[in-house]
């Protein structure tokens, strides 16, 4: 800063000295006014030269913003804080949205795969993830109903006759209760086990993270 001022002042002083010297040197009055005009312009240029530098280097914007920061410091600082907070919030929501989206996608692919592989209708499929940067699957929850009319009738057909066999084994009232809450007898359990196995193999998950519920069609 001081060097800049120093050079600027030196330049102006030397120019003024030169101008006066030239004024003395000049011949008679004919050229006097013109030469004086040009010298005045030169001195004005020398005085303005720092502004030229400012404009040429496009420093004016940064210096202006610095001045603003210095001038009304507190408000701007708080606003900067607020902006940072907002940015963090935004990134959080963004991450959350990404996770949700990923969960939905995974659930949809799971549903498709299961429906393709097994003769069932997936009522509900949920995939839960965990972790911020690298999300990992925390658990898979599937609710499945045996499809009545769809293509997988081969599997459905043999299931039907099994129920009466179960009913026949126990007393009917008990069996009804069983039907209502925990019907999964051998067939359903087998189906759910197969689905679990399938999910385990395709998604490379430990079996305790996979929950499959089979509802009665």
């Amino acid at each position: 800063m001081f060097e800049l001022l120093n050079g600027w002042l030196k330049q102006i002083i030397i120019l003024v000295l030169l101008a006066t010297f030239m004024d003395l040197l000049l011949p008679n009055n004919a050229m006097d006014r013109y030469v004086k005009l040009v010298m005045g312009l030169l001195i004005i240029l020398a005085i303005l030269s720092p502004i030229f530098q400012l404009i040429r280097q496009d420093l004016d914007l940064t210096s202006l913003s610095d001045q603003q920061l210095e001038g009304s410091g507190r408000e701007n600082l708080s606003s900067v804080k607020a902006i940072k907070q907002k940015g963090e919030q935004l990134t959080e929501t963004q991450n959350r949205l990404i996770h949700e989206q990923a969960e939905q996608r995974m659930a949809a692919t799971l549903r498709k795969g299961v429906e393709k592989r097994f003769p069932v209708e997936v009522i509900q499929s949920e995939v839960k993830t965990k972790g911020k940067e690298e999300a990992r699957i925390e658990g898979v929850h599937l609710v499945v109903r045996r499809a009545a009319d769809k293509g997988g009738e081969e599997a459905v057909d043999p299931v039907d006759p099994v129920d009466p066999v179960d009913i026949g084994m126990d007393s009917e009232s008990r069996n009804k209760e069983d039907h209502q809450k925990d019907e999964p007898s051998s067939e359903q359990r087998a189906l759910s086990r197969r689905i679990v196995q399938y999910v385990e193999e395709t998604w490379k998950l430990p079996p305790e993270q996979i929950k499959v519920e089979v509802e009665d069609g």
Partner: protein, 129 residues
Amino acid sequence: MEIVQVVGLGLVATFLVLVLKEQKPVFAFLLATFTGVIIFLSLIGKIADVLHVLTRLAEQARVNTLFLETILKIIGIAYIAEFGAQVTRDAGQGSIASKIELAGKILIMVMAIPIITMIIETIVQILPT
């Protein structure tokens, strides 16, 4: 050349011109011009010294070379134009002398044009649009 020599040369030339003017006015005029040129040339060495000093000073102070160049050119134009104008005026051609002066003035103003444009552009840029 020292000042005594210059003055002596000038005096001798003046006498010779006064003598010649009776016989051949044209040669008198030629002699006057020649004397002027000789004096001018004899001063060139000193002028060069002065200009060297000025240039060195300006370089040390890091004055923009554009400024110095313009100043020196203005000095040169002014001197040469003045010299020519005086010679022609001595010969009795006042109109040609004024034309030479006009040319000198216009050339000096032309030197000023880039400076004026620079200043005006700066002012326009500074002003809020």
